[in-house]
């Protein structure tokens, strides 16, 4: 096979890559240098959008820090609960298969539909949650109190995506070698010591992968916020992706939204690289 033939075989894959990955990114960069909105076309305005973003838009940065809080909190909770559930059904327990399937169900449901159901549950005057709590003299403002609304978003996200963490961690647990556990048992290690000194370190590589995958997904949180709170009350649950959506697809400031998207992409690449390195250092000491 000569040099040219190699490129002929490479071309279909390259074409798809350019079409679905490279072109959209280049287009977003070009769009971000324009003032494209409902009254302007794809004109060139240089770095004006970026200057506006860095000097005159605190709402973007507030939404970014809110997103960081929400994604870190949800992923940590998902990891802890997911690990606990995986550990539980890893062992021989009754109805093991039933529980394995049961714990996966939330992930198999459609997020938007489930969020509508959660919104109905948490509806403050018509929802069943407050109906039950009112018997104990409580009626929390699940969706209209700025702090509680964040907690509600976290609850829904954790419910929906813990099964994903559970699935990855269970697969990891099932693939662990048996010898270290046998050795620990011979040494008379208690279950807690066995978990701390054997299971957890062996699971570290898988844990890092699972956490990073979920952090990437959680940082794009949009549907839950859109359906549950619309970013409210006020802007208290507005995340970066929802804010970009408002600017781009609600207000039709496409050029500005593109500059925010690109900036957000760069920040995410950098921060996730650091997080991955940090986790590797922390969990894979040896």
């Amino acid at each position: 096979m000569n040099f040219k033939q190699k490129y002929v075989f490479l071309f279909p894959g390259l074409f798809v890559l350019i079409g679905i990955l490279i072109f959209p990114i280049i287009f977003v960069v070009r769009l971000s240098l324009s003032g494209w909105n409902s009254y302007n076309g794809l004109n060139f305005i240089g770095l004006e959008n970026y200057i506006r973003l860095f000097t005159d838009d605190p709402r973007f940065w507030q939404s970014f820090f809110r997103l960081s809080f929400l994604s870190v909190t949800t992923v940590v909770l998902q990891y802890v609960i997911g690990f606990a559930l995986a550990h539980m059904v890893w062992k021989d327990i009754k109805f093991q298969r039933f529980f394995r399937v049961l714990f996966l169900i939330p992930m198999m449901t459609t997020p938007v539909i489930m969020t509508v159901i959660w919104r109905t549950f948490f509806h403050e005057s018509l929802g069943p949650v407050n109906d039950i709590l009112s018997n104990f003299g409580m009626s929390p403002k699940w969706l209209t109190d700025p702090t509680l609304a964040k907690i509600t978003v976290i609850i829904v996200e954790v419910w929906q995506w813990t099964p994903f963490m559970f699935l990855l961690l269970l697969a990891g647990l099932l693939s662990l070698p048996k010898e270290p556990f046998l050795a620990a048992a011979i040494d008379g290690a208690s279950p807690i010591r066995k978990f701390i000194y054997v299971t957890f370190p062996l699971m570290a590589p898988i844990s890092i992968g699972a956490i990073i995958i979920r952090l990437i997904e959680a940082s794009k949180i949009m549907d839950t916020v859109y359906v549950l709170t619309s970013g409210g009350p006020g802007t208290s649950t507005e995340t970066s992706s929802f804010y970009i959506f408002i600017k781009g697809l609600r207000e039709f400031q496409m050029g500005y939204a593109a500059s925010m998207s690109f900036t957000y992409l760069i920040i995410m690449i950098i921060s996730l690289t650091f997080i991955a390195k940090g986790l590797t250092k922390l969990l894979l000491k040896d």
Binding site: Y39, G231, G232
Partner: protein
């Protein structure tokens, strides 16, 4: 005798064949939606549309989510398909996304939808992508019944781009069985020292709403609340805020702009009139039902229409829902003009004027247009003409959550509501009088219709929702909105916004 009998049967037969009653039997059997009236003759009646053949053609419509306007769109699409053989695809989109859903393909030079629904204030951004309504439809029987103001609302520079299907105003809705109840009046007087009556100021509205909040005042075993309002950020709440602002900020003695000073294009949105209205609105969060600050239009309709609150304002729909046959409060509600205020801000002198002020807010309503690039324009206009034909329109008017409200001259006849919908004559009269008086008022406010309108209204929604959530004080929130408005004006171009806004100001100042 035989001759008389023959003549009589001939007359009866001809009446049955040629009168609308005959069509009523024929069409209302197939389409129960129009059972109250049957088909009503006109250029786009069931009879006329059934003569069209659109077999093999597809009509694509983007409309609002179900139920408000989305449900009648889908229903009339189904009827239209049945009558003409056309295939009609209806896409439902949340209110906040209607603008962009049409604008993205418009900007890209495409027309994935033949018909696009939106709000009438989008006209300035959309009109370059919409086909003007052809003369044939302008001269139709249905169009001739549309009020002059709604023909104007659907047009720009004398050309109609939006097909009239709805006409909206904001007004006050109240529980007549409570406000007019002598026992309640006595109790209210004893407890507060004040008269219980239809509120004429927002302060009175607030006092009464607060008093009637959180207890079972209608004896149905459930708690009732003061007021149901559209407070959800992305669900037209900016319009609810303007309704509360007009009393304090629309001064008939200072023409030249409600939203901006037309000369300087400096925003008025953070002047003390608007701040007072927002302060009232923040106070209102204490007398709405639990979760009320997350109420969208659909929630407001369900809440007031279901008998949960004493008051509501904004669009007709909540009132119509309350007057539906299946409503627990049918014939127990009243309509009145929006409350006013005992003072009004004078933006020229920079002082409050201690004079009673009331200003109607003509919100207009749902608007719909046909894409200029649509390949089935005739079918699209036929559909819209059919949508608002006499029979469909009267049937739609009677359903609260359909979102179709009066915009035809014939809609202001109280007998329409008494005869076909079973309304109490006193309520029907007060309803039509309230609407008619708004048309006559000389102190009206019309929505902003300028380029980039969604940016302006979105800024108001964000700012006011921050105040409602307690994130900012009313003054801080509106200062933030004013700053954002200034930035938008500078981006769009001061002259452009000024040119567009001048049209609205002329209407407000009664010069058009």
């Amino acid at each position: 005798m035989k001759i008389i009998k023959t003549c009589l049967s001939a007359v009866i037969s001809s009446v049955l064949i040629f009168s609308p009653m005959a069509y009523a039997d024929k069409w209302s059997d197939q389409f129960p939606h129009i059972k109250a009236t049957g088909d009503i003759p006109g250029d786009c009646s069931y009879e006329e549309i059934s003569k069209k053949n659109y077999k093999g053609k597809t009509l694509k419509i983007n409309t609002h989510a179900v139920p408000v306007i989305g449900q009648p769109t889908a229903l009339h699409a189904e009827q239209f398909a049945k009558l003409t053989g056309a295939t009609v695809d209806v896409t439902h989109t949340p209110a906040g996304d209607l603008y962009a859903k049409a604008m993205v393909p418009f900007k890209a030079g495409q027309a994935p939808y033949d018909i696009v629904f939106g709000f009438s204030n989008f006209i300035n951004d959309w009109r370059q992508y919409l086909a003007p309504v052809p003369k044939k439809y302008m001269n139709s029987t249905e169009m001739k019944d549309v009020t002059k103001s709604h023909v104007g609302v659907s047009s720009w520079d004398g050309t109609m781009y939006q097909y009239p299907v709805d006409g909206d105003r904001h007004y006050l809705k109240y529980r007549k069985d409570v406000i007019d109840n002598p026992e309640m009046q006595k109790k209210y007087k004893a407890d507060t020292g004040k008269e219980l009556k239809v509120p004429t100021t927002w302060k009175e509205y607030g006092e009464m709403a607060k008093y009637f909040n959180g207890w079972d005042w209608d004896g149905d075993g459930e708690k009732e609340y003061g007021s149901a309002e559209v407070m959800k950020k992305d669900d037209l709440m900016f319009a609810a805020f303007f309704s509360r602002s007009v009393a304090y900020a629309k001064n008939p003695r200072t023409p030249g702009g409600f939203f901006f000073d037309l000369e300087t294009m400096k925003p008025n949105i953070n002047n003390p009139g608007f701040v007072e209205a927002l302060t009232d609105w923040v106070e209102a969060t204490k007398y709405v039902p639990p979760g009320g600050i997350n109420f969208g239009l659909g929630d407001e309709i369900g809440s007031f229409g279901g008998g949960q609150t004493l008051f509501s304002f904004s669009w007709d729909d909540a009132f119509i829902a309350a007057m539906q046959d299946d409503s627990p409060i049918k014939n127990k509600v009243g309509a009145a003009p929006l409350p006013g205020s005992d003072k009004v801000w004078n933006r020229v002198s920079g002082k409050w004027e201690n004079k009673y002020n009331q200003a109607p807010y003509i919100v207009w309503g749902w608007a719909v247009g046909v894409a200029k690039k649509s390949k089935v324009q005739e079918m699209a206009f036929d559909y819209l003409c059919f949508f608002s034909n006499g029979a469909n329109h009267q049937a739609d008017l009677a359903i609260g959550n359909f979102g179709v409200n009066p915009f035809k001259n014939s809609d202001f006849d109280p007998n329409l509501y008494i005869d076909t919908m079973g309304w109490d004559p006193e309520i029907a009269n007060s309803y039509t009088k309230t609407l008619k008086d708004m048309e006559k008022s000389k102190n009206r406010v019309f929505p902003l219709r300028v380029r980039g309108v969604f940016e302006f209204t979105s800024a108001v929604a964000t700012g006011t929702s921050k105040a409602l959530a307690g994130q900012l004080s009313p003054q801080e929130a509106l200062d933030e909105v004013a700053k954002e408005w200034e930035a938008i004006v500078s981006r769009v171009g001061k002259k452009n916004v000024q040119e567009d806004y001048a049209v609205g100001v002329k209407m407000e100042d009664n010069k058009l």
